[in-house]
């Protein structure tokens, strides 16, 4: 059985179509990352999956239950970690978890035991009696995740759970996601950090402007770029005026520029780099740095959209 199955899901807000017919499948026990820039439609998609907003068209299934026709059954199988911290700051970590556990019908010793387990998992057993309002951003993020795991869901949806936190807490959260997956949970993980998607995912769906533009394993997606190399250049001035000239260079398949930073996807860096620099010199800008990289998900996005997937 597919843990998550999304069929032609659409959502419009007035005349604006935020999600334009999305199809996704996640097998049980896998981590599927939904990767895309801000405004790609990721959060709208998972809002429909979690029952927050109704689709304009199409349907989605969680463990076989339709989110539109069987929302209660679908939600029982689902744990949702919202992008923003959604906790009660004036309650302690333990009180928060007790409340969310009760909302999933946990009671008595089962509830207490589960709270102890998740506190242990997120490493906050020692701070369980402190009010959440006093926690650091990273600690709040961890409690935010724990609240979604109280009922041991089959599927966990995490909406950018590492936004705005320190590297240590990010590491802790990524390790938690892997641990959950090892326990058999299916994870739908949305992010705009390609490193996280690359590290965690069994499959990655790249989303842009309300559509899934690529789907596959990390290696499958990289192969879409072929043998191309990514070159990051930094200049001392704006370079927008030079972009058309760069695009004319043979072997350059994608280029994106902003604030003096340029990302180019080229067939052969040895041939393309001198030409890129020559055109830049003719445009009157001075090179500050050059970085040649192996193809990655950023390259894939650039290849598919002609734009960089920036933070």
């Amino acid at each position: 059985m597919n843990a998550i199955e999304v069929k032609n899901l659409k959502k419009s807000f007035g005349s604006f179509q935020a999600v334009k017919g999305v199809d996704i499948i996640a097998q049980q026990g896998e981590i599927l990352s939904l990767l895309g820039p801000n405004g790609a439609g990721k959060s709208t998609t998972i809002s429909m999956l979690s029952g927050l907003i109704a689709p304009s068209d199409g349907d989605a299934f969680i463990m076989g239950y339709s989110v539109t026709d069987q929302p209660k059954s679908a939600k029982e199988k689902l744990g949702v970690v919202p992008q923003d911290i959604a906790l009660y700051p004036d309650l302690s970590a333990r009180e928060n978890l007790l409340f969310w556990g009760k909302m999933y019908d946990l009671r008595g010793s089962d509830l207490k035991q589960r709270v102890d387990e998740v506190l242990e998992m997120i490493g906050l057993t020692e701070r369980q009696k402190d009010r959440v309002g006093k926690f650091s951003g990273g600690m709040k993020r961890r409690v935010n995740i724990a609240a979604a795991l109280m009922h041991k869901p089959d599927v966990v949806i995490m909406d950018e759970p590492t936004v705005g936190i320190d590297p240590q807490s990010r590491r802790h959260i990524l390790d938690n996601v892997k641990e959950l997956n090892r326990q058999g949970m299916t994870v739908l993980y949305t992010t705009h950090y390609m490193e996280e998607a690359a590290e965690l995912s069994d499959h990655i769906a790249i989303m842009d402007q309300g559509k899934i533009i690529a789907f596959g394993t990390h290696d499958e997606l990289i192969k879409m770029v072929g043998e191309q190399t990514r070159i990051d250049l930094t200049f001392n001035a704006e370079v927008e005026a030079i972009i058309p000239a760069w695009k004319e260079i043979e072997g350059v398949s994608g280029i994106d520029a902003s604030d003096g930073k340029v990302t180019a996807l080229v067939d052969d860096s040895n041939q393309a780099l001198p030409r890129l620099l020559e055109v830049a010199a003719q445009g009157g800008v001075r090179i500050l740095s050059v970085d040649i990289k192996e193809p990655n998900l950023e390259s894939v996005f650039l290849h598919l959209t002609g734009r960089a997937l920036r933070d």
């Binding site: 209660k72 059954s73 029982e76 919202p82 923003d84 009660y88 004036d90 309650l91 999933y104």
Partner: protein
Amino acid sequence: MKIMEIAIKDLTRSFRSLFAVGMTIVAPLLLIGLIFLAFGGAFNGASDLPAISVGIYNADILTDTSILVEPLGANIRSMFVDESVQSWITATDFSSEMSLRSALDRREIGVAILIPVDFSERFLAGNRDTQVLILSDHTLTIAPQVAQNMVTAMLDGVSGGGIAIETILERQKIQGVQPGPEQITSLIDRYSAWYRDFQRDLFHNPESAALMMVAPTGETSSENPIQQMLGLMMAGQMVFFAFFTGAYSMMSILEENEEGTLARMFTLPMSRTTILTGKFLAVFLMLVVQGIVLLIAAHFIFNIQWGDPKMIVLALLGQVVAAAGLGVLLISFVKTSRQAGPVMGGVLTALGMLGGLFTANMNMPEAFNRLAAFTPQGWVVRGWKIVLSGQPASDLLLPLLVMLVIGVVMFVIGAFRFQRRFA
């Protein structure tokens, strides 16, 4: 079960908020406490004013030809030495005007009443020059006013009696009857006796007086007018803060919407109706807790006698339903918690003033009372006045019915708006 869990969580959060506890419980008690202390209240409940110290020099005597049996000066004096006023007036007789004035100068007395020699005869003859002189310590305000009012009331009664007797005599004359001196003396005696009893009853036994007082006349409140006043003021403040609490508690739905916890709850396997019902239940519970705490605290701290427990329960029920209804309706029109503050403050204060919550212990013009009937607060405070005055339960039925109907209608409209907003 989940409904109750949501409500309990909201209550827990409210009672951890210093602002909420302050506005719900502390502020009304503090306001009444200040007034209580201002009136010299003591924590044993004996909050009487200090006794008024009055000195009297009565030189009034009757001539042999007087139609009166007893001089008016003696009647005036008897009012101040009557045993029924001894708990709040200490009266002392003086043998001369000089000794009376000296006692006042030495502040042994607060008020001096000087009744001149032929006061009765001159007063009955309509001589405007004659007067009872009331002197007082210039630092006192209430005591001289009380003494003046008592003397004025007495003399007004005598004047009224004179008019009444003249009217009787005129009437008998028209009918061709010529009353003899014994008959006139008898009339005067009967009137004097009636008026003395009337005055006594009016001050000290109003339920049996021919003239009924409209102000609260319950057994307990009539024993202590300050307690009665505090009770009304406490009721006004309790109602004001109850409506504030209703709106403030409902505001938590806006805060949860902004905190993201409401959206998170919507991802849980339960209906949105369950979630909203839990929020509404929290408002009701908060109001019940607030009402009970304030009623008990006011009773034990300020010795306020609320009255019949069954009537109290009914009035509190009406208050809770009306305050919750207005709270839900009011907040349903507000988009954010930042908007809610000014809206709540403005609307509830205006409605509170119109409803007479700040003038609950005063006799206001009829037009104002009619205006109060257009506010839920006006009906709730009317209910508490009935309970405090010890009136029968049947008198409470109309205000209670209005409170419940207003509350339920507002609640239904507000709940419908929330359902639609979060659908």
